[in-house]
Structure formats: C-alpha cells, structure tokens
C-alpha cells in the first residue's frame, strides 16, 4: 500500500459495534451446538437406533405384545384422568388468583408450584404412607377389599400429583397480563359469571390452556419415579409405558426396552413440535390486547 485514502470509496465491511467478530461468533455457535449434540441429539438418535437395531419386525413385535399394549392402555387412562382434572384445577386457580385481590395470594401461588420441587420418589412415598398397608387408611381399604397402592388408582393419584402445576402456572401469568376489564365489561353488559367465563375468558386463554395441557400431558404419560413407587410393577396390570421400559431393560431385553422407549420418545418429539407451534400463539394472545 502506498497511500491511505482518507475517504474509502469502496464499501468497507460494515462493522456493527454490538456484534462480535465472525471468528468469535462461529466459535461460540460451534461450542454451543457441540454441547447440545452431545447431550440432546445423541441420546435422541440413540433411542431410535437401538430400538430398530434388530429390524422392523422385532420392533413391531415388541410394541404389540399384550403387556406392552396393556401398558399403553394404562398410560392413556392415567393421562385421561389426570389431565382433565388438572385442567379444571388450573382454570379455577387462575380465575381466583388472576382476577381477584385477596390475602395469602402469593402463598397460594407458591403452594401450587410445590409438586415441582418435590422429588418424584417422595411424591410416590406419601401416597404409600396414606393408602399403603401400614398407612393411615390402608387397613380400612383392605377390609373393604379396595386397593389403591399397587393398583391403578395409586398410579392415577401419583400422576395427578406431579402434574398439578402445569396448567395453572401457564394460565395465571397469562390471565394476569390480560387484566379483568373485558370480564368487567361483560358483567356490566349483563352476562352471568358462566357466560363471561365461556364467551370472554376461555377464548382469550385458549392457546395458553392448550400449551399447559400439552406439557401436562407429556409429563402425565412419561412420569416414572412417582408412579414407580406406587405401582408394584405388576406386568399387564399396573405397568405404564415408562415402567414397562424399566422392566424390559432389567430383564436384559434391550431391544424391546428401546422399542417401547421409542414410543415415548416419539411422544416427546410430538410434544416439542406442538409446543413450538402453540408458543407463538400464546405470545400473540398475551400481547395482542386492546392496548396495542
């Protein structure tokens, strides 16, 4: 170079002050992606690979044998009871917390989150302490020939426990962000409480409701620890899919274990896809009020 021009005529690469050099950028991206590949992508690929290791026929046989089908059925039953109950709970809790000012509201909000911070094993244990043979009402249940622990009701209860917060914690912030003015307007216009809930509130929170339900359902179908404690692992009777995976694995029937596991992994993938689709709608519903 012989002269340094004062004014550059050719457009120099535009340097944005709030961005790193491409070199640093790509190093960071690569580092992050390597970490995620190792911890997320690799396990995901491994599930399906291991499941299909011995071909489609073995795979199909593993997921259609009677015990596997019974496990699928029980998993669906548990979710079909737990999710609607938690849905009603979520709407009731969010209505009370988001639409009203009362004492002890913040304590109630924390209590709803409580199951998230309790170890699943402890969640299972507490039901054994109540309904088990040495538990509070265990002897009474036995006299009346009712069983909750090591039976389906226990599995449903444990599933409900671990999934209680999902829908409520999705709805509470959403309804708080939306405020109460639309409901007040509906009441002034003569609508009853149920009409207000049905025509105004529920349509406004439908995407948040769906989002919470998707997450709640995923956990309800996949829960392992809590259900494991109360189930008794009776094949064909008290086995959910998640527990069936464990049994097969402990019997060194690895291909079958991974085949059943792949069903659950598929469920997880569907959950992620739905969640991503619904997420955008929830954001829209939170922001697109009358205040724009």
């Amino acid at each position: 170079m012989t002269a340094v021009p004062l004014l550059q005529t050719s457009p120099a690469p535009h340097k944005v002050v709030t961005q790193e050099s491409p070199w640093a950028r790509w190093t960071l991206i690569l580092l992050a992606l390597s970490f995620l590949s190792l911890f997320l992508l690799l396990p995901l690929v491994a599930v399906f690979f291991e499941a299909l290791r011995k071909g489609w026929e073995v795979y199909l046989a593993a997921i259609t044998e009677p015990d596997a089908l019974a496990a699928i059925r029980l998993t669906l039953i548990a979710a079909a009871i737990a999710v609607p109950l938690n849905l009603i709970f979520g709407i009731a809790a969010a209505w009370a917390i988001a639409k009203f000012e009362f004492r002890g509201k913040s304590i109630l909000t924390s209590l709803i989150d409580l199951p998230f911070s309790v170890s699943p094993v402890v969640a299972g244990l507490i039901y054994v302490l109540i309904f088990g043979l040495q538990g509070w009402i265990g002897p009474w249940l036995r006299e009346h020939d009712l069983s909750i622990i090591f039976a389906v009701p226990g599995i449903v209860l444990a599933t409900i426990f671990v999934t209680v917060p999902f829908i409520a914690r999705e709805l509470i912030p959403l309804m708080q962000a939306q405020g109460s003015e639309e409901e007040e307007a509906a009441i002034i216009l003569g609508a009853s409480g149920w009409q207000t809930l049905w025509y105004v509130t529920l349509p406004n929170i439908k995407w948040g409701l769906l989002y919470g339900t998707i997450l709640c359902n995923a956990r309800a179908m996949g829960e392992f620890g809590a259900v494991s404690v109360v189930s008794g692992h009776i094949r064909g009777l008290t086995n959910t899919l998640s527990l069936h995976v464990e049994i097969l694995y402990n019997e060194y029937n690895f291909v079958a274990a991974f085949a059943v596991a792949s069903l659950l992994a598929l469920l997880a993938l569907i959950t992620l896809v739905l969640k991503t689709l619904v997420e955008a709608k929830v954001a829209q519903q939170t922001s697109r009020g009358n205040h724009s």
């Binding site: 003015e181 639309e182 007040e184 307007a185 509906a186 009441i187 002034i188 216009l189 003569g190 609508a191 009853s192 009409q195 025509y199 105004v200 349509p203 406004n204 697109r288 009020g289 009358n290 205040h291 724009s292």
Partner: protein, 362 residues
C-alpha cells in the same frame, strides 16, 4: 335518570380515595369529573357504576338507593379507558354481546339483534367494520365501538372513563366534538372522567373539579374558569400567574402595585396569593403614571395570533416566571425584543388570603 350521591367515602388502605362526596347529576346532563391523577375521579365513576363499593354513603338512581344493587341491575353503560373490547369477537359480536347474553325470555331474536347492532354501528359511523376484530381497528375507531357496545343495552346512564385518554391529539379533538353531538342527539345522562381541563371545558355541561378525594368546585365550564372557587381550581384550569402579596383592610399590595380588595375589608395584614391569567396581564413600555410592576422580557414566542411573553419580575413578588399573552398587533405596536424592560399590570386578579389557601398545590 338522576344520579344523586350522598356522603360517599372510600379508603384504599391509608389512602383516601373519596372523602365525603355529595353530588347530583341532572337528567340528560353531560357531566365531567375533572382532576389530576389520584384525585379520586375514576374511583367515583367506578362506584357509580357499581364496579367498586364505597365504605360509606349512598348512590341514588332516580331517588332509589342503588348502593347495594348489583351492577347488572343498574342499567349503566360503561366505556373503559382502554375500551376493553372482547378481543376474540368481531366488532359485530362485541356490540351484540349485551343482547345475546340476556335470559332467553328477554332476548331479542336474531333479526332484531342484527337490526339493532347495524343501527348502532351506523350511529357511530363504523358499520363497514362489522366483520373486523378489535386489533384491526385504530384507537379512535375502537373508542366508538366501545361506545356503541355500551349503548346496545339501552342504558339509562352512560359512564366514560378517560374516553379520549389513550388517543393522539388530533383524534381526541375530532372525537370530542363527535361525543358532544352524539350526546345532544341522545340526551342520555352521562358522566365522563378526564384529567384534561380543555376537554372538560369544551365538552361538558357541568364540571366537577376533584382533588385528593374531595370536590373542589361544581359549575358550568364558564363558572369554573372565570370564578374558580379556590387556588387549586385556579391552577388546575388553564395557565395562571401566581403573585405573593399582602391584604390589609380592603386593599391588596403586590410589590408597588396597589389594588382594591373590598371583599377583604376585615383583613388585618394578611399575606395573600394573587392569580392572574396570562391574557389578563397588560404590558406597556412606560409607566403612564399608574402603578405597575417592572419586569424584563426573557423569551418571546410569537407564533399564531397571540404572542406569549416570558417575563422576569424585578422584585420577588412572583417566584416563577410571569407569562403574559398579548395580541400580535399590540406586540408590533410596542416593538418588544428580548431583554427589554417593560411594565406589567393585571387587568383582573383573584386574591386568596393565606388562611383560605386550602387545597392549593403549593
């Protein structure tokens, strides 16, 4: 519909939102509740609507006690500051809502609802928006839809909370005139809340000036502007200059300036505040033999027909700058420039001796 309010009070914790409010709204009247934020005007409106309860006192609709009446049975139309349109419904469904949620026996049939909603949308000149959703409308359009929705149930009272608060200046001006006209056509008893004195003065039949949960003055726009009851109303309504002086036996002194104050003939050397509107200040280059205050020009704003002068007094009769408004002709005649020495004299002034200073914001 007459609305009467007797001895209404409300506390929020230690904050007094309403302090012994007494008020009568006449049938067919358009009344403004005017005050700064925190003055209790919105709370009063919400108590009238039934959205809030008062701690004590009564709200009477046509001489019937409505204090404990449920909001549904009060037949009020309420327009929220942020409109509160149902975001999941079309404009048509929004306006039809109040009719559709009626018990089956009182509910009009579908063609009737259709007719009524179309009529209302035509009234607010937005029938072409029937199939849109609220988020597709401009602020001014939403405001008019909110009004149509409130009118659909044929309320006997219309209550509006800061109806133009969220709109930009130009739309505000248009809607003000429109609301005035709409009210003249329908003659429904209406109360609206505003913090904008210009809006209240322009639109309302009567104005209730509120401050710290209390009513400071009730009167027609002319009354409250020309005869403010106290320093607060004076300062809240329009620009005003404030002078410190003394009153003694029917005379007042502001610096060298002496004015007659016959209403204070009993006063014995009291300190006092005098208020003068900018357009009531006479500006001259010479003394002309009459007493006046000396000042010099700090800034001149000569846009439009009125010239605004910012003046600094020679003495400390006024703590702040003094603002005077003179006509452009007068301005040219005097050939004023920044820094010039002038003499000013109030054409009209209102005195408030210090013991009567309640409610002043100073």
């Amino acid at each position: 519909m007459t609305i009467e309010i007797h001895d209404l009070s409300k506390q929020f914790g230690s904050f007094t939102a309403l302090n012994d409010i007494n008020l009568k709204v006449n049938p067919g009247e358009l009344l403004a509740l005017l005050g700064p934020s925190g003055s209790g005007k919105t709370t009063l409106l919400r108590v009238i609507a039934g959205l809030e309860t008062a701690d004590s006192g009564q709200v009477l609709f046509n001489e019937e006690d409505s204090t404990d009446k449920h909001i549904r049975d009060r037949h009020v139309g309420f327009v929220f500051q942020h409109y509160a349109l149902f975001r999941n419904m079309t404009i048509f469904e929004n306006v039809a809502f109040g009719l559709r949620v009626r018990p089956r026996k009182q509910r009009p049939n579908a063609p009737e609802i259709n007719h009524r909603v179309t009529e209302l949308l035509q009234l607010v000149q937005l029938d072409w928006l029937a199939d849109r959703y609220p988020h597709q409308l401009s602020g001014g359009q939403r405001q008019r839809i909110a009004l149509a929705r409130a009118l659909a149930v044929e309320p006997s009272v219309l209550l509006l909370d800061e109806p133009f608060g969220a709109l930009d200046a130009k739309v505000r001006k248009e809607l003000r005139a429109w609301l005035r006209k709409l009210h003249d056509d329908m003659h429904i008893t209406s109360v609206f809340v505003t913090h904008d004195q210009e809006e209240a003065l322009e639109v309302a039949d009567r104005i209730v000036v509120m401050n710290r949960g209390r009513i400071e003055q009730i009167g027609t726009p002319d009354e409250v502007y020309e005869k403010p009851a106290n320093p607060f109303v004076y300062e809240f309504l329009g620009h005003v200059n404030l002078f410190h002086g003394r009153v003694h036996q029917g005379h007042a002194w502001i610096g060298d300036l002496e004015v007659d104050a016959p209403e204070y003939s009993e006063a014995e050397d009291l300190s006092a505040i005098a208020y003068v509107r900018p357009h009531d200040i006479e500006v001259d280059r010479t003394l002309n033999g009459e007493p006046a205050l000396a000042a010099h020009i700090v800034h001149i704003l000569a846009i439009g027909p009125v010239v605004r002068l910012e003046l600094a007094g020679k003495d400390n009769q006024s703590t702040n700058s003094i603002y005077a408004e003179i006509s452009k002709e007068r301005f040219r005649e005097l050939q004023l420039a920044r820094g010039d020495q002038v003499f000013i004299k109030p054409r009209k002034l209102d005195l408030f001796p210090n013991h009567a200073q309640n409610g002043s914001i100073h």
